[in-house]
Symmetry: C2
Subunit: 393 residues, 2 copies
């Protein structure tokens, strides 16, 4: 490929980091030609002539052959990417929500316009999970992808586990340390993890899943008593994103759920803001990829790796996707689940197909048993802030 002339949308910490590295590393063969931002009046650490508030200064510039999209608004990002494809420009993005929602459309546009669309930074920051699923693990040998893909919730859960803090206190600490946003909804309710899991599932099994089909419960209703129980039993609690395929039936179960994880398991060692993903295959057993999942440097690193890959015309081939019919999701099966609750008047038992263990005390009770996976789609259960739902691994 000829020299990469980059048009950058967004100049937050990640954008600025990328600008600096590209200035310092001429060997990457890439220069930022224009940066489009919303607020031109803000002081920026780059020459003012680089900046514009008009998207067309990038999109209509034929010399710019790569668009790096780092803005948070999904709709605006979508319009930018679609137009960039139409103009024959490659796109690098970190926008997991957008990608998960428009995966199929964007991949098809990518093919139609014969450009590359790379988004490693959208899942687990600098952990090269997409590239590994895409390039290295052959789909027929893969059985599951499972792990911690959201650093904010993992930071909160680590604090709750290690310092016996309440969810509210741990969230506050995460916000104070910059690991949680002022509005943490997307993270703590598991939406962010569900988007990442949808992207992972496509690259793992070639199956397009709708983010809203991912069975999901966040961490907001977890109580100190749940962590007390975990400690007694040699567990910790993690928000686990899991996509498991049944090769016989083609069924895929995709879940983002708080999960008791035995302390001696690899995934229990992923603490604070780190991410870690297990890839299970028939032949190689379990592979584990681990690293920082978000933040300035990990995200910049993943974006730069994608930019660097454009130098050799790299493109996700999504070979698996091409070959396969659409899959079936979360269709059947049971999960072993713990539900903790304070209010004894709540009818918790009726969610269970089979109750295995009941514990009651004046302050806090729990029930353990088998729940049909379809029951977990029940909003009343998922969105009830008074129920802690935790999978038993």
């Amino acid at each position: 490929m000829k020299k990469l002339n980059i048009g950058l949308f967004g100049f937050g910490v990640v954008g600025e980091g990328i600008y600096k590295v590209l200035e310092e590393k001429p060997q990457l063969n890439a220069t930022i030609k224009k940066i489009v931002i919303k607020d031109l009046s803000k002081p920026r650490n780059a020459p003012s002539e680089l900046f514009s508030d008009n998207a067309d200064d990038i999109l209509e510039d034929d010399e710019i052959n790569v668009v790096v999209e780092l803005i948070s608004e999904s709709d605006a990002a979508h319009a930018i990417i679609v137009k960039a494809f139409d103009k024959g420009k490659h796109v690098v993005s970190a926008n997991k929500k957008l990608i998960a929602e428009h995966h199929k459309e964007l991949l098809e546009l990518q093919y139609k316009n014969n450009v590359s669309f790379l988004y490693e930074a959208s899942v687990c920051g600098s952990v090269p999970i997409i590239r590994n699923l895409e390039e290295y693990f052959d789909n027929d040998l893969l059985n599951y992808v499972s792990g911690i893909v959201n650093g904010t919730t993992n930071y909160i859960l680590t604090k709750m586990a290690k310092e016996n803090e309440s969810y509210q206190d741990a969230l506050k600490a995460a916000q104070d340390s910059g690991f949680a946003e002022a509005d943490p909804t997307a993270d703590v309710e598991g939406f962010d993890a569900a988007s990442k899991l949808a992207i992972i599932t496509l690259h793992a099994y070639g199956k397009k899943i709708d983010v809203k089909d991912v069975i999901r419960k966040g961490i907001m209703s977890l109580q100190v008593q749940d962590f007390k129980y975990a400690k007694e039993k040699g567990y910790t609690i993690k928000l686990i994103a899991n996509s498991t395929i049944n090769h016989q039936t083609g069924e895929i179960n995709s879940t983002v759920l708080p999960t008791f994880v035995k302390l001696n398991k690899t995934i229990a060692l992923v603490n604070n803001e780190y991410n870690g993903v297990l890839i299970g295959s028939s032949l190689s057993d379990e592979q584990f990829l681990y690293g920082k999942g978000a933040g300035r440097f990990p995200t910049s690193s993943a974006v730069l790796s994608d930019i660097s890959a454009l130098n050799y015309d790299y493109k996700y081939s999504i070979r698996k996707y091409d070959e396969k019919e659409e899959g079936v999701f979360n269709q059947s099966g049971q999960l072993k689940v713990y539900i903790g609750f304070k209010d004894k008047n709540l009818d918790v038992v009726s969610y269970f197909d089979e109750v295995e263990e009941r514990y009651e005390s004046p302050d806090y009770s729990h029930i353990i048993g088998k729940i049909d996976i379809n029951t977990l789609k029940n909003k009343e259960l998922i969105e009830n802030p008074n129920l802690s739902l935790i999978v038993l691994d």
Copy 2:
């Protein structure tokens, strides 16, 4: 690429595993056409017409476009690979010793003949370390690659650490469990790890290093007293292969040395026959890849991933190698080292530039201090079975 017609050299557990998977997975678009073995009289789990003891039945067959080389003899493997390249055949190999020794020659022949030469299975079994270094981590951002790349020694060290076993007992247990060979020299003296580190270093920094330039000491002289010291100080002992680059000077230090690792470090969690590698870069901090490093399934898995990659004409581009002059190795610096010994008449002090700590007892003594990295090339020190040399991390 057209259909892959494979000629297989060697039919041990890995070869047989690959044969079975290819039989069961037509979608891999690959069939084994001929298998060359040494002993035709041995019963085999495959149709007898597939077998031959004449290498030319593969090498001279123009329909065979892929050679999978799984034999242990380095010289025979070298001759096979060179002839296969000459005949325009792609080669997949797991032969780390051969590759490390002839890396440059084989890569050049690969280019000259415009074929692919893939060898993911040669380093850490199914852990996709080469593919990740090659494809994902841009060389200028990489600072170090460090980890456990030999499952046999890690199994032995885990037993010594957890069960207070002597080296001899732990080696015996490893041999009984099939994790160590009858002649364990290549593993326990660190030669195997040094070969893998040479391959890693090439793909990490684009620098060709000679295996014999890797500073190396194995695990044979480690004593229960060393593990006792480790336990007291919150360490475990691991055989760490490390390649660190100094971007200012271009110097690379490549070492395979027993190392005290703090128990709370990621690498301390790699136990038994597992392998784990940390990849450190300026931007993404630390990435960690973990999985089974050897054995039938992990090795088959890596070989199959390489075969699968041939379907889309994958080739290590060794971009980094092309761009860079040769590096300088192990040139300067000091390491903080512990040396344990029984015989007080040994002159251990003189190895040190600076002694920081001395412990003497009737049974066992140790000295901790700074040693010049060039002193570690001293055979008297490296090959002395009465000295435990352990790096302090």
